[in-house]
Amino acid sequence: MTDLSTTYLGLHLKNPLVASASPLSKKLDKARKLEEAGVSAIVMYSLFEEQIIHESLELDHYLTRGTDSFAEAMSYLPDGGMYSAGPEKYLNHLAGLKKSLSIPVIGSLNGVSKGGWTKYARQIQDAGADALELNLYFIPTDPDLTAQELENAQVELVAEVKSAITIPLAVKLSPFVTALPNFARRVVEAGASGLVLFNRFYQPDFDLEELEIIHSLDLSTSADLRLPLRWVSILYGKVNADFALTSGVHTAGDVLKSMMAGAKVSMMASNLLQNGDQVIPSMLNEVGWWMESHEYESIKQMQGSMSQKSVKEPAAFERANYMKVLNSFKELR
């Protein structure tokens, strides 16, 4: 019998397949189905501090607009004062998930302010999360902002959040970092037990007819696995953290590759959104069969087995890799 179990952030998981942050965790019954289908943990959808602030200010603005201005209408909307404009909805839902699931639930937080990060992190912990995933999300547009300043600020945030909680902390990174290994190490030194590679940003598109910017969600494909696969492979063994590979996990093969690169877990969302939770048992079965047929005893056995430090040609992960691909492409033609 092959052993699919793994550990991540100190949590013992029955297998390496984790449902990553997506709308699927917004519904209790859907989360329950994910558990039944076999995922070993769930990362909740993100609590967006920015959104909370926006919704709160928006509600205030529209409840206030036009009030006490005109004798016949002291206001235009009823103000029952019974809103949940803060993080309560998220926290209640988290508590609800914890209550009805037996697998670990990892909270996810997307903050914008120092106070916000630490406060909400503690609230997520208090609501029962087994661990916390922080999203470092920032699109620098100011030419005066240096990489050093930005990285320092983010490392500082990680340290602050870590100091506010006792549950394990994972940090979801952006791939757009000049010296990723160094930054990853600094994040871990600041208190992260895990690194999640990578955050997928929505990329704007243009509508040529309307000359407008379009925001739409493009789901990942297996091709998107390459980027995190490379970086998990590179970082494994160099940065002392549990790695989670996310983006592009669609098949049993993708899971196996993640493990071999050095990840402790593979996180999946797009496939679940596209095909539903029924893909989970077949993927897990396939992982098992593959391992059996290739005589692997356990997942742990293969973790990091194809990382940069474990392969024969470490340079394959570096610039040479790019050259080779180009050459092979030429040959194919």
């Binding site: 919704e55 709160s56 006490d68 005109f70 004798a71 909307l77 009823p78 809103y83």
Partner: protein, 1188 residues
């Protein structure tokens, strides 16, 4: 025992008792009573229980008549039932009131007493409404203050249960309903001591039940009706004593004692004033002051007006009294005197005191201020040997000379009372902050406190005035702070200084706080000379704060509330500064806490920043400014505008004499053009090189401030230097024609709808359009000159183009301009379009509501005339009768046209057969035909002008009706779907040629967003706080069922061409037309600039399918229904959750929001499916054989 104290307004004080003492509450919005219904609905939806531990059922009805019917039914089946109303609403209840009283039913109606619509509508307070029901058999109990409104609400309930006579409990609209005051709250325990449970059960036992069936409501015959009507006499006889008994019991429980008639004054008074309502409070304060000065006078406050007890009245009136002056807050034209006066005269006779001389007078109509000086004037008049009877006080009646002279310097303000006046902009939160301040003072200090607020008549950019009093003595001053009496004057908007004399309120040595973008060293030189002089003359302590800057930096935007409130507390010293700040912050948490931390945080930051930015200004010894305050209207305005409307604009309408007012409520058109409000911070600027001349910006502009013209390029000679123009791209007018888009810089509200709709994008920078916003101040003067030049360019001759395209239609001059509607209003673009297309031959019936207020509220009104002096003739009758009102107009026009045609034929010889034939058979289907008929009519008048035949003179007087007239019936969904629906249905059924335009905002917008039957499922509205559970009524579908009604559902933002086509078709249809127009509204809760975008989404989601149903197609054997929107392509939620009205439910009750949204989605789908099926049905033309 320390009694709980609250600082609330009269509506809340009343509703808090009514809700606790009722099982069923039927409500309907009407100013100024709407808030009572809103409180009841809110409390019930929050599960607040009544005295018996169950949550009262609250239901909104379709009209006050409906509410009265529901109340009657609930009472008849034994529930403790109430309603709240005012004015015309109470009048609609009269039929039921007779029934309820005739059946001896215990009930209480709470009325915020308001004027009745006569020569004009007024939302403000007087006793005309309650006086109109004094004959119904209901008891009338009058309270004078917020405390009494609270107390009498309870006394009325206890008295009705015992007497079985139904009670109207009333108090003065606005003055009491909207005054915020510190009062002692009646606890549940106290209410339990007051209510006799046996009487409650007796009331219930009289209810109809099949277990013990009875029959009530017979038809009676001459033999017994009379006797049966007399059976109730003992109940009426007993009622005064019962009310007094309840008042005595109330005194035992609460310590506050009242009598049916409360006398205050000298025990041996010789002169006494008699009145009721808030004026009685003024009278008490005034009389007390004068008695202290040695006057032998008194006041008799009438509490129980009906049944009128002569016995109690005579007992209360001191024996020493020689004369009385009775003041009525009502007007009964043609009577021998107003009702209270007549009752008093009668009581003196029947009460064996005929020697007491009585005179009567009127005061305070429509919330006209009633001050101690006016009261004194009435008492002084009484002292004269031959006093004036039937006088008026508070106005200058220079026509029938009824008015009394008033010494305006007389005041009884208490020296220890602090008086503060604040001037703010509606949107800056001044009133809200002051309500908060008065609550803090009332509840956190030992001071008594009072707040009263005065609003402007416009819905956008209006000035508010807050009057706050507080001090150690109880405050009996139900009138605004008088000139030279305020200890503190605050101006929250710098630009008010050039428009209004606010320092007239300041007393010597008062504090003046100014929100200023100039610092303490710069500000003096920026003040108008009058302001500088007043500061010096009155020795004011002058402070400035740059609230604009603080607001900007702390994310408060245009909200000055928290900042100016903090400055007020910091300067006024009413509380120690630290405590004041703590209290303000506590209030912020209480008010905004549930809206989220970010809101609290920004307000806290504003409080802290305010203190740091507050400075005292060193006042120079002399005024140095060369700037003078501006006059309210320009010098070249017509005399009526300058002499009559000007003072109203300048907040000095009170000074206008009776002779200045039109006798019958008739006003000239086109007066908004003279009131330059300068509201916009940024205005649109036209980029002629990018413009494609589509006219869309002109079409959507809610205030008609952006217009385009095509004109002979030779006319550009003499144009101002900055006047922009380009070559015309109109195919009808190309070579030799120039084109201009021009903005009225001083009338624009800055809503940016024009910018949003502009389809052009600069190819080199797509963010730039053919219309872009730029700061107004630097453009104002030049653009004002350009506007004047533009307006003097001739309008294009209507005969020369077809108005069927957007760009062409917008060449037609808007005859509806610069209204007082909200910035970005979704209704007015439709109204304006009707005025452009048909305005010069329209008669308009306008239902009460937003459109009658922005369309007809003084001082200035937006309906205008064209260059020939023609324009829409407009009138507002009521809320409920608008369809019938418009139908009446049609009947006149049709009848008079018919008569005119008959007369034309009589004069065939004089006029010639050909001429008569041309008139009778004129084709008036287009502008050319109409113009030709106008010319014939002019010729006809000329030809007959010398005739002495009276029939010729008749024909001349009727001849204008030979030109095609267009009758428009306009109103909102509250009217069309609810209160006016019965009439609307009848008018549709009549088949007559009327055009009905429903401006559908899906709520009662004018009264503040109450739910109507148009409100969609899943939306939150007042009276539907938990989200509306039922779907929107499909008015169009109902109308289509007639088969001969033209019906269209339009949304300008989704398809402006369809809007234009539908309106033209509707008007051309010789029968009833109904056009339902999607109108985005401030009550929907989103950025109004996105209104057009949101209209698109409404259509795409299937919430608002667009169609035209033209019965003329049936005649052609075609299906009359043409659906003009596509199958729903986005989920309902994608449209809905852009709007706070939907979104807030997800924040209040997510599960219900989800459930209702699911249902709303189904509604959209099933509506679409149904329409699809209807549109694909085979229609014969009625002559085909049934082949099946």
């Amino acid at each position: 025992m320390k009694r709980p104290v609250v600082t609330i307004d009269g509506n809340e004080a009343t509703a808090s008792i009514a809700h606790r003492l009722s099982e069923v509450i039927a409500i309907y919005p009407i100013t100024p009573s709407s808030a009572m219904g809103e409180f009841a609905d809110e409390w019930t939806s929050k599960g607040k229980k009544n005295l018996w531990g169950t949550v009262p059922a609250v239901i909104e009805m379709q009209s006050e008549g409906g509410a009265a019917g529901a109340v009657h039914g609930a009472l008849q089946t034994g529930a403790l039932t109430t309603t709240f109303t005012a004015s015309q609403g109470l009048l609609l209840m009269i039929p039921n009131m007779y029934k309820i009283a005739g059946e001896l039913t215990s009930a209480v109606f709470h009325v915020a007493a308001r004027s009745l619509a006569a020569q004009g509508l007024s939302i403000f307070g007087d006793h005309q409404d309650v006086m109109s029901v004094r004959q119904t058999g209901w008891a009338l109990l009058s309270s004078t203050s917020v405390q009494e409104a609270h107390d009498f609400a309870a006394i009325a309930q206890t008295a009705t249960l015992k007497s079985r006579i139904p009670f109207i409990h009333f108090f003065d609209g606005f003055r009491t309903s909207h005054e915020v005051a510190k009062i002692f709250q009646i606890t549940d325990e106290e209410l339990r001591l007051l209510i006799d449970e046996e009487l409650v059960r007796a009331h219930r036992a009289r209810g109809l039940t099949p277990e013990h069936p009875v029959l009530r409501g017979t038809a009676q015959n001459p033999d017994v009706y009379f006797q049966a009507r007399e059976t109730v006499n003992p109940y009426y006889s007993a009622t005064p004593a019962i009310v007094q008994e309840m008042m005595d019991k109330f005194a035992q429980v609460t310590g506050r004692h009242y009598n049916l008639f409360d006398y205050v004054g000298h025990p041996d008074a010789e002169r006494v004033v008699i009145l009721m309502g808030s004026g009685a409070d003024t009278a008490e304060a005034t009389v007390s002051d004068l008695v202290e000065k040695g006057e032998k006078i008194g006041v008799l406050k009438v509490r129980l007006y009906r049944p009128f007890s002569v016995e109690y009245f005579i007992r209360a009136l001191p024996k020493s009294v020689k004369s009385v002056v009775v003041l009525d807050r009502t007007k009964e034209p043609g009577s021998m005197g107003e009702p209270l006066y007549m009752d008093v005269v009668n009581a003196l006779v029947e009460g064996q005191r005929p020697q007491v001389k009585a005179i009567g007078g009127r005061y305070g109509l429509s919330s006209k201020e009633f001050t101690p000086a006016m009261l004194k004037a009435a008492l002084d008049e009484l002292a004269k040997p031959e006093p004036k009877n039937h006088f008026t006080v508070g106005i200058n009646d220079d026509v029938t000379h009824t008015s009394l002279e008033v010494d305006s310097s007389f005041s009884v303000e208490h020296a220890e009372t602090v008086r503060c006046v604040f001037f703010g902009l509606g949107s800056d939160g001044t009133v809200g902050a002051n309500k908060n301040s008065i609550k803090i003072i009332g509840e956190e200090t030992d001071n008594y406190a009072q707040g009263y607020f005065v609003y402007d008549s416009k819905k956008s950019g209006q000035m508010t005035t807050s009057h706050l009093r507080f001090g150690p003595k109880p405050i009996h001053a139900p009138y605004v702070i008088e000139p030279n009496q305020a200890n503190f004057v605050a101006c929250h908007q710098f630009n008010f200084l050039e428009r209004f004399d606010m320092l007239k309120y300041a007393k010597e040595g008062a504090v003046f706080l100014l929100n200023s973008m100039y610092d303490k060293n710069e500000v003096w030189d920026q003040l108008p000379r009058e302001v500088q002089s007043a500061i010096i003359a009155k020795k004011l302590k002058f402070y400035v704060i740059n609230g604009y800057d603080v607001a900007e930096k702390t994310g408060m935007g245009q909200r000055m509330n928290t900042i100016m409130q903090t400055a007020f507390f910091a300067i006024s010293g009413v509380l120690p500064r630290e405590q004041a700040i703590a209290e303000i912050k506590h209030a912020i948490e209480k008010t905004y806490g549930k809206r989220g931390e970010a809101v609290v945080k920004k307000n806290f930051e504003a409080v802290d920043a305010a203190i740091a930015n507050l400075y005292e200004v060193n006042v120079p010894a002399e005024a140095s400014s060369k700037m003078a305050r501006r006059s309210p209207v320009p010098d070249d305005a017509p005399a009526f505008v300058k002499d009559v409307l000007g003072p109203m604009i300048g907040f000095d309408g009170d000074s206008l004499p009776v002779s200045a007012m039109p006798v019958d409520g008739t006003y000239p058109l086109g007066t908004t053009q003279w009131e330059k409000r300068n509201l916009a911070l940024d205005i649109p600027v036209w980029e002629e090189s990018l413009c494609i001349q589509c006219g869309k910006c002109v079409m959507v502009c809610p205030h008609a401030v952006i217009r385009h013209k095509v004109y002979d390029e030779k006319l550009l000679a003499g144009a101002p230097e900055t006047f922009k123009h380009t070559a015309s791209k109109f195919k009808e007018f190309s070579a030799g024609y120039a084109y201009t888009v021009q903005v009225a810089p001083e009338d624009c509200t800055g809503c940016t709808l024009c910018l949003e709709v502009c389809p052009v994008k600069d190819k080199s920078a797509v963010g730039r359009k053919a219309i872009n916003m730029a700061p107004q101040p630097s453009l104002r003067e030049a653009e004002a000159r350009n506007w004047d030049f533009f307006m003097n360019l001739p309008d294009m001759d209507k005969k020369l183009f077809n108005p069927g395209t957007i760009k062409n239609s917008q060449l037609l001059r808007p005859l509806f301009e610069f209204s007082g509607a909200c910035a970005g209003c979704g209704e007015t673009p439709y109204v304006k379009l009707v005025s452009q297309l048909f305005g010069d031959r329209s008669v308009i019936a306008n239902a009460t509501g937003c459109s009658s207020i922005y369309g007809g509220n003084l001082p200035t009104t937006p309906w205008a005339v064209d260059s020939k002096g023609r324009g829409p003739a407009w009138s507002n009758s009521l809320f409920e009768d608008n369809a019938e009102f418009g139908l009446g107009m049609r009947l006149t026009i049709d009848k008079q046209q018919e008569y005119a045609l008959e007369l034309v034929k009589v004069f065939e010889k004089e006029l010639s057969a050909g001429f008569v034939n041309a008139i009778v058979n004129a084709n008036q289907s287009d502008e050319a035909g109409i113009e030709a008929q106008r010319e014939r009519v002019a010729e006809l008048k000329e030809k007959l002008s010398k005739s002495t035949d009276s029939r010729a003179r008749d024909l001349i007087s009727l001849a204008d009706n030979l030109v095609k007239k267009s009758v428009w019936i306009i109103g909102g969904d509250g009217w069309a779907y609810d209160i006016g629906y019965g009439g609307l249905d009848h008018v549709l059924a009549s088949g007559r040629n009327v055009n009905i335009l429903v401006l559908d905002t899906e709520v009662y917008s004018n009264t503040g967003g109450q739910s109507s039957k148009s409100t969609p499922r899943a939306a939150v509205a007042k009276f539907a706080m938990g989200g509306k559970g039922m779907p929107k009524k499909d008015l169009g579908l109902i109308a289509m069922s007639y088969g001969y009604v033209y019906v269209a559902r339009i949304a300008m933002g989704a398809n402006d061409q369809q809007t234009l086509r539908a309106l033209i078709e509707a008007e051309s249809y010789d029968g009833p037309s109904l056009v339902i127009a999607y109108s985005h509204c401030i009550a929907h809760g989103y950025d109004m600039a996105k209104g057009l975008e949101q209209q698109k989404l409404a259509v795409q989601s299937g919430h608002w399918p667009m169609y035209r149903y033209d019965p003329r197609l049936i005649e052609e054997g075609r299906n009359p229904l043409v659906i003009e929107s596509k199958e729903p392509s986005i989920p309902m939620s994608q449209y809905a959750y852009n709007e706070t009205r939907y979104k807030m439910l997800t924040q209040m009750d997510e599960a219900r929001a989800e459930e209702l949204m699911k249902e709303a989605q189904k509604d959209a789908k099933s509506r679409w499916t149904l329409y699809q099926q209807m549109a694909s049905m085979h229609y014969g033309n009625g002559n085909e054989e049934n082949k099946s």
